[in-house]
């Protein structure tokens, strides 16, 4: 079993320098069978994760995508393919929609592995370039989802932590800084401890009402640390910093412990990418604001914020943030200092300046749209078309035994292709279901009719109390 990993160990041994190598058991894939690493790992870590003796190995269990495709009644595959697609969409969609308290104001450090392990070509073109590209996507999506949050980027290379960009709210700075790394390449061994200590220092001044988070992209299977990393983990727990890791090669025990301990026992934040699509998914999942687990995690406080309006001047004047000449910008609501972009802290008086649209962008995280339910044939006759996009629905079948079929098919789709909003009971097609839950976050039908005893739309979601998850 360990034979396949020989080549990794060979490179590992070369890198053992003055530092301790904290490398423990690992196993490939997120939840597969154990493939315990080489001799060093075995001597150090006795407890292998997951006994995989009786289970079939992951690679033995081949999933053939064509097994699921069955010819339809008319002899063509189109209906089956459409059904599979619909099932896929539906599966992706069904999420827990209880309104949870989330940390909307985030302070996050993204740590990129810039070690020699990133020069592997198992991700195209290389792990290094791909992770840089996805890091840029991450930055964009992070600020899209968390407009009033802060981000900083660090790198791990040559056993050192390298500062790539400081904690700030401006996506352009981060993307530029990450872009500059493209000319470079991965070197040396990574040091988790150094990087984590540096993030701890960077997050030290983050206010208590915000979250403190670290996201690590980790390609190597080792960490070359100057001291005891377990102590660093304890410090992280004390500082209420949550760490999530996206692994690129295999699970590393120390990362698992790191995630588990800093996330109150939740290991779900440690994922190992199976392919590049999965890598992107794992990384971008961390842009969703984290659930507040206990009232202690983040203090609630009242913040004073300014909502400046944009103005255009006849003559150019200097902005306070970059000292460049601009025609127009935003004036601080308190001291009328001109800044050129929002959100920003007023350079003169320190007031947080944001657009009200920035706040509104986060509301859908706090008040999610409830999942829609499948409609049985019996209830299907009341609609002939999708409420939102006007696409015609299939007619109910003539046979009575088909009419009494359960609403949910084996693949999880609706038997009548209709999905109903639980509040207004209008019917929608699967595409609108996906669109409304993933992009719009409203029910168009609920918004376009006034129920009796009208509740204000703005306060509807807000009336139910939020749970602390």
């Amino acid at each position: 079993m360990a034979d396949s990993d020989e080549d990794y160990i060979a490179t590992d041994d070369e890198e053992i320098g003055a530092h301790n190598i904290s490398k423990s058991g690992r196993h490939r894939g997120a939840g597969g069978a154990a493939a315990t690493g080489g001799s060093g790992a075995r001597s150090k870590n006795g407890s292998k994760p997951g006994g995989g003796a009786q289970k079939r190995e992951r690679w033995e269990d081949i999933k053939r995508s064509w097994d699921n495709v069955v010819e339809g009644e008319d002899g063509s595959l189109s209906s089956t393919v459409a059904g599979l697609l619909e099932a896929g969409k539906r599966k992706r969609l069904l999420k827990d929609t209880t309104p949870l308290q989330r940390g909307i104001i985030r302070h996050l450090i993204l740590i990129l592995d810039l070690s020699s392990a990133m020069m592997e070509k198992d991700f195209r073109p290389t792990r290094y370039l791909l992770s840089l590209r996805y890091a840029c996507d991450f930055v964009r999506e992070y600020f899209e989802q968390n407009p009033i949050s802060q981000l900083g980027v660090l790198g791990m290379r040559d056993g050192l932590a390298v500062r790539i960009s400081d904690l700030s709210g401006n996506p352009v700075d981060h993307i530029e800084a990450i872009g500059k790394l493209r000319l470079d390449e991965g070197k040396g061994a990574p040091s988790l401890q150094n990087a984590l200590e540096m993030s701890r220092a960077a997050l030290f001044h983050a206010p208590s009402h915000g979250t403190r988070e670290v996201v690590i992209v980790f390609g190597a299977l080792l960490s070359s640390d100057p001291g005891d990393i377990h102590q660093t983990i304890s410090h992280l727990v004390e500082d209420k910093i949550r760490v999530s890791v996206v692994g690129l090669s295999a699970q590393v025990a120390v990362c698992r412990e790191l995630c588990k301990r800093t996330n109150a026992g939740d290991e779900g934040v440690y994922g190992v990418a199976l392919d590049d699509k999965h890598f992107r998914e794992l990384l971008l999942d961390t842009t969703i604001p984290p659930v507040t687990r206990s009232a202690k995690m983040s203090a609630s406080s009242l913040l004073m914020m300014g909502f400046p309006s944009r103005m255009v001047e006849k003559t150019a004047s200097l902005c306070a943030c970059h000292s460049t000449l601009t025609k127009g910008g935003y004036l601080c609501s308190r001291c009328s200092t001109k800044v050129c972009a929002l959100p920003m802290e007023c350079p003169a008086c320190g007031l947080t300046l944001i657009l009200s649209t920035h706040l509104a962008r986060s509301y859908h995280h706090l008040f999610p749209l409830k999942n829609w339910v499948e409609v049985p044939w019996k209830a299907a006759s009341k609609s002939t078309h999708c409420y939102a996009c006007q696409i015609p629905f299939p007619h109910p079948p003539a046979k009575p035994e088909e009419l009494s079929a359960p609403a949910k098919t084996a693949t999880g789709t609706s038997v009548s292709s209709r999905y109903a909003c639980t509040i207004c009971h209008n019917h929608f097609c699967i595409d609108c279901d996906v669109f409304c839950h993933e992009t719009l976050y409203n029910c168009p039908a609920c918004q376009s009719s006034v129920p009796k005893g009208r509740i204000s739309n703005g306060a509807r979601g807000r009336s139910d109390p939020m749970e602390v998850g």
């Binding site: 320190g350 009200s356 996009c389 006007q390 204000s456 703005g458």
Partner: protein, 357 residues
């Protein structure tokens, strides 16, 4: 003439995409009645129909949809699904819309159906519903528009395929879609969150929302066109609605890149507080639910999420004079201590000097 190479021209027009226009007409009778002297709703509708015809005339592949944002409901005026038969029969009486040789069939279809469903909408509106009905279901209308655009832009519409799910198989037939809102009523504060959600959805799908503001004023629609890079136009002379529509709103998104579209320069980004719906430029924000308050809520308990809030951080912000005072004191003290130390030093230096002198 043979030397003229027409193929270049032909190949250019190949990548021209058809465009989809979704027009949202705010049909709040209350708001239109204030405009009855200059632009009655019927005349506005006639202008809009001409505008739609112009849009359709550009290309046979162009599509339109018309949605009414009424006082208590939002619904499609075109294309309608439920009342296709009544639309054809109810409007022109016995006349078959397909038989009129003097009119382009597509124009005729749209006109008849819009007018019929509009009449239906007005017929269903009872006087009792209109009592104090100042608002309009803009959030719902935007939601319908976006849902419709979402389907048409993605699904191949060759011959009006019924089984739309087949079309969704990776079929990317992008049309240039845009949404035009002809708005007359003002207040949208009640629908703040859903309207904002619609705006962000449009932004993500790169669908511009154009605003033709005939009367009234809403901050949110201004923000909508600004966020989605649409055109915002506040009409000075509502009676010439058609002129405005033709001059400002006819170019589609592809054409706009070559033009300088009219837009607003000053955008009001102030927020409305959740407690009194006042528009504020400095507000207090709950860090848990992001509710905006104009003054710190009573007992420091957020009224929307019932969280006890820590207002100690505000001390640094709010108490301006106090901050200045403590600073002064500190500097004074420092100065004093410096001065005393200096004098001590001076005396110290002088003391050794004194015996010398």
């Amino acid at each position: 003439m043979d030397t003229v190479d027409a193929s270049a021209h032909y190949s250019q027009s190949v990548d021209e995409k058809p465009s989809l226009l979704v027009l949202i007409l705010d049909t709040n009778p209350y708001a239109w009645s204030t405009l009855s002297a200059t632009l009655p709703l019927e005349r506005a509708l006639a202008s809009i129909l001409i505008f739609l015809n112009v849009h359709m005339a550009f290309s046979h592949a162009n599509r339109v949809a018309v949605i009414a944002s009424h006082t208590r409901s939002a619904r499609f005026l075109y294309p309608t699904t439920t009342s296709t038969t009544t639309a054809a029969g109810g409007s022109g009486g016995s006349e078959d819309p397909f038989r009129d040789a003097n009119k382009y069939r597509q124009f005729r279809l749209i006109e008849d159906q819009v007018q019929a469903s509009f009449a239906e909408l007005m017929r269903q509106t009872t006087a009792s519903e209109l009592v104090d009905a100042k608002e309009t279901m803009m959030a719902g209308a935007l939601g319908l528009a976006l849902g419709y655009v979402n389907r048409l832009v993605r699904v191949d519409d060759s011959g009006g395929v019924v089984g739309g799910k087949d079309g969704a198989v990776g079929e990317v037939t992008s049309m240039n879609a845009r949404i035009l809102v002809v708005s007359v009523s003002g207040d949208l504060a009640e629908q703040y969150v859903p309207v904002m959600n619609s705006i962000f959805a449009a932004q993500r799908k790169k669908i511009p929302i154009d605003i033709c503001k005939v009367a009234g004023e809403t901050v949110f629609l201004q923000q909508a066109s600004d966020t989605t890079r649409g055109i915002y136009m506040q009409l000075e002379h509502p009676e010439s609605l058609l002129q405005y529509l033709m001059m400002c709103f006819i170019p589609d998104t592809a054409t706009r890149r070559h033009l300088v579209p009219p837009t607003q320069v000053n955008v009001d980004f102030r927020a409305a507080c959740f407690c009194h719906k006042n528009v504020v430029d400095i507000g207090f924000v709950c860090s848990i639910c992001l509710s905006i308050f104009c003054t710190p809520p009573e007992g420091a308990i957020c009224t929307t999420c019932n969280t006890k809030l820590d207002i100690s951080a505000l001390g640094n912000f709010g108490g301006k004079p106090a901050v200045v005072l403590t600073k002064k004191k500190k500097t004074k003290k420092l100065k004093q201590s410096k001065a005393t130390s200096f004098s001590n030093e001076a005396s110290a230096t002088s003391t050794p000097g004194t015996p010398a002198s």
